[in-house]
Amino acid sequence: MLGVIAGLLMRPFRSPMLRYVVRRVLWGIAMLVIVSALTFIIFYLFPSADPAQLRAGRNPNPGAVAAIRHSLGLDKPFYVQYWLYMKNLVLHFDLGYSYFNQTSVRAEIFARLPVTASLAFGALILWLLIGIPVGIISAIKPRSILDRLTMSGSLVAISAPVYWLGLVALFLFANDIGVLRLFPGSGTYVPFSQDPVGWFTSLILPWFVLAASFAAFYARMVRAQVRETMTEDFIRTARAKGLSERRVIFRHGLRAALTPVVTMAGLDLSGLLGGAILTETVFNIPGVGRYAYDAIVNSDFPPIQGTVLFSAFFIISANIIVDVVYAFLDPRVRF
């Protein structure tokens, strides 16, 4: 009887595809555990501020520091602290409380996630809208003036640090301190629910700044992909069949060339959902990245751990999704 039940339970896992998915998910979970453990180790073993001492104020007696250390659970061995952290995380989805202001890390991250998502999705749309057409045009007309201009421009955009680009954008276009005074500048973010127009306008400059280097990178990637695809046999066949060049490029060439772009976009977006630290810092946008930045500056471990795990979760999830999609597309991957 038991054998029958076990057989029934295991039946789904006879599917190589399902086994592959389960394997990838388990590896993803293992990766998250490794990331969390590494963050713990880095914080505890390498030089960092002692939260109990930071909290104790100046010249405390040893008893005060000990009392604070105990209240924060820092007097327990490293592995016990880690175990308790993971236990609370798994059982209660509790990411702990800030040593600095005693606020819930989970609540803070979830409150800030819509802000970061607004920034990340807007930037994604922008960089795809800019990067793909530019890449295609450059690929179709290689070595033309347009190609040289856009590729040179993309090099500049890739090389420009986001922090610098953000400041330049503010000094040129912010409506309070800019030369041209076109868009709201630093510290103007308002939630969509409060003021949709204000939300949109306050994100225009951050979207462009965040999208700039991605757009440049994508333009170069699309250019290379399209150029490579256009030399493939099936393109030659399409041309031989007498299809128009426009149809060859858009119906046959681009579809093949853009597949890796979509994959990359998914991965990049997942990375940004963990917080666009520099953009959020320059434009004073209260997102997850800004939260991580403040935590680092204050040596506030629970938010650091929380934002790292959060970011890792998105990246690993995106990787799993990509792997699974590939497995569907290419059966060889499943084995």
């Binding site: 010249n59 040893p62 520091v65 009392a67 005693q102 503010l170 309070d176 630093s186």
Partner: protein, 609 residues
């Protein structure tokens, strides 16, 4: 108080803990006379501090009622809990929302009775201090009731609890009879028999000995009343949550909900919204409170953007960080903008601490060699040069000049050099005296732990280069500012040989607050020690113990002047700058400064034009 990471004085890097600058002169006179003063002394501090210091704006007595002030800050308050607040930006919020026993008018160092009705009565040879408090002062919603003396007693007692962890209770308030020597777990376990409240409007402090600094400390936020019945559940938590539910007694309050949770008014590292306290009665207060609302926007990390936004009028004042040095230079060169910028001398100094507990700096001559060789002008340039302040040569800063400290030997410069650029021959002479034949140090590599960001990191490089001139091999370890303090310089067991990025500010206008903690051997504790040189000189210790008890102004000044000289000559710490703090206002507001708090904006006195 030592300089923490949040408050940046110039450029970036060093956060400064709160600074209370009171008028000890007035207090000391009161103590000496043992009589009751009718009102706060009008005597202000004589300021001779540095080049670039501007006079404070005239007191804003005819401001327009209403309007909103927008304040830009790089970071957040440490806490909304007045029992924990101990940082200049904390005080901007605390002194607009709360009423300690005594506080200050804007643009001066003058102390006024705030919650108290008058200056304290001193009796029993300086060992009994009696304060009467005003009637008609009420807590903000949801508490709403009238403040009593028991609320002040509870506030002070809870400061001794580990889960509130006030940073100065054990320093200035442990002189009260029965005050704990070690912090207790929760406020419930703290009871100080030396604080009596014979009736609802009287609080009596019985001291174990006369204390010249105690009355000055009554200006500190620890004396802000806390309603026990409301705060107790929050104070029972491992880390008190009263800061998230704080109630106000001042003209403003942090916006809150019906339960008292201030989440609507304080989103950490994002914003603070102060609104009018409906229970505040202006007739009981000397503050005009012109503004209707104060919006503090946190997270403006770039000091150039901050300054430009203020000049453009999209914000009104910098709350915790100064404008970038380049912007300051630009503003100074513009006749219109120049009028919007105020420099306030910061009472206290930055110094290089030399660890006296182990070789080679356990040798006085070796330390003096370092005091001679340091190029203080180059060090000052790492923070922006003359706009940052003036070169310090000892510890009692120039704002104390003329108060009698000179008689004790203060204001000396025992390690002079041309233009303060360092004196290598004299340094070598000192090393020869220490037994190094050719005047060059020979020995193990010394360690130096410094900030990993400018300007502190640049200052450290200058110090390391200077030390190499006389033969030291320096291993420079660069870490975050909080790490530099908590893991290394404030932890005697881990302390390196040199800590080049430390500093100390006064709590109120009393030289004791500049010298007692950072140079008293008693201050060396296993963790969070503020005696960074680990100076434990019996002569200095006993001189400090004797000076603490002095209440006569002249004798006190002379005694602390003598201690200043002793500490400077010990070369355990080498001071190098007395700083000025720049505050920039937009053209749409009438400015007001907390002169006693590093020139921070005074929300209770600023008005819109």
């Amino acid at each position: 108080m030592h300089r923490k990471s949040k408050r940046r004085l110039s450029g970036s890097g060093g956060r400064v803990v709160a600074l209370l600058v009171a008028v000890a002169a007035a207090f000391a006179l009161v103590v000496a006379a043992g009589t009751l003063a009718g009102c706060g002394s009008k005597k202000s501090t004589t300021s001779t501090a540095g080049k670039g210091v501007t006079p404070p704006p005239p007191l804003n007595t005819k401001g327009k009622k209403g309007g909103t002030l927008t304040v830009l800050t790089a970071s957040d308050v440490d806490s909304m809990d007045p029992g924990y607040a101990y940082y200049a930006f904390d005080y901007e919020v605390v002194y607009a929302t709360q009423r300690p026993l005594y506080s200050y008018k804007a643009d001066s160092n003058t102390v006024y009775p705030d919650l108290a009705t008058e200056m304290p009565t001193v009796s029993d040879g300086g060992k009994t201090i009696t304060v009467h408090i005003k009637s008609g002062v009420r807590f903000s919603p949801p508490v709403n009731r009238e403040v009593t003396s028991a609320d002040v007693k509870y506030a002070i007692e809870r400061g001794f609890a580990g889960n509130v962890s006030n940073g100065y209770a054990s320093i200035y308030f442990s002189v009260i009879k029965g005050a704990p020597k070690a912090l207790a777990a929760t406020p419930a376990s703290v009871s100080i028999p030396g604080i009596e409240t014979p009736d609802k409007s009287t609080i009596v402090f019985h001291l174990s000995q006369p204390s010249g600094a105690f009355i000055g400390a009554l200006t500190m936020p620890l004396t802000v009343p806390v309603p026990e019945e409301y705060a107790k559940p929050f104070d029972a938590k491992p880390a008190s949550a009263y800061g998230q539910h704080v109630v106000a007694t001042g003209p403003y309050m942090v916006a809150n909900d019906k339960s008292g949770n201030v989440k609507a008014g304080w989103n950490p590292n994002s914003f603070i919204h102060l609104i009018r306290n409906p229970n505040w009665d202006g007739k009981t207060d000397f503050r005009p409170a012109y503004l209707d609302k104060i919006n503090i926007k946190e997270g403006t990390s770039d000091p150039s953007v901050m300054a430009r936004q203020i000049l453009a009028g999209s914000a009104d004042v910098n709350g915790d960080s100064p404008p970038a040095p380049a912007m300051i230079k630009s503003i100074i060169s513009n006749p219109t903008q120049k009028k919007q910028l105020y420099f306030t001398p910061v009472s206290g100094s930055r110094y290089v601490a030399l660890n006296t507990s182990k070789p080679p700096f356990d040798n006085l001559s070796v330390r003096r060699a370092v005091a001679y060789v340091l190029d203080r002008r180059a060090m000052l340039l790492t923070r922006g040069g003359a706009i940052d302040g003036i070169i310090a040569t000892h510890f009692i800063d120039p704002s104390f000049a003329g108060l009698g400290f000179e008689a004790g030997g203060g204001y000396s410069n025992p390690f002079p050099s041309v233009n303060n650029t360092g004196n290598v021959p004299k340094a070598k002479e000192m090393l020869k005296k220490a037994g190094f034949a050719n005047g060059m140090f020979k020995g193990a590599t010394i360690t130096m732990v410094a900030d990993n960001t400018p300007p502190g990191s640049n200052t450290a490089k200058v110090v390391a280069a200077d030390l190499r001139k006389i033969g030291f091999n320096v291993k420079l370890i660069s870490v975050l500012h909080p790490t530099m303090y908590s893991k290394y310089c404030s932890s005697p067991a881990n302390e390196p040989n040199v800590c080049p990025n430390v500093g100390w500010l006064q709590d109120f206008k009393d030289a004791q607050t500049l010298l007692d903690i950072p140079f008293n051997g008693k201050s060396i504790v296993p963790a969070n020690s503020s005696n960074w040189p680990q100076l434990n000189d019996p002569k200095i210790n006993s001189a400090i113990t004797a000076a603490e008890k002095l209440t006569d102004l002249k004798a006190r000044a002379e005694a602390w002047g003598k201690i200043d000289k002793m500490v400077t000559l010990s070369a355990a710490a080498v001071p190098w700058v007395w700083e000025n703090f720049p505050t920039l206002f937009s053209s749409r507001v009438v400015p007001a400064l907390m002169t006693w708090n590093q020139g921070s904006p005074d929300f209770s006195w600023i008005s819109v034009k």
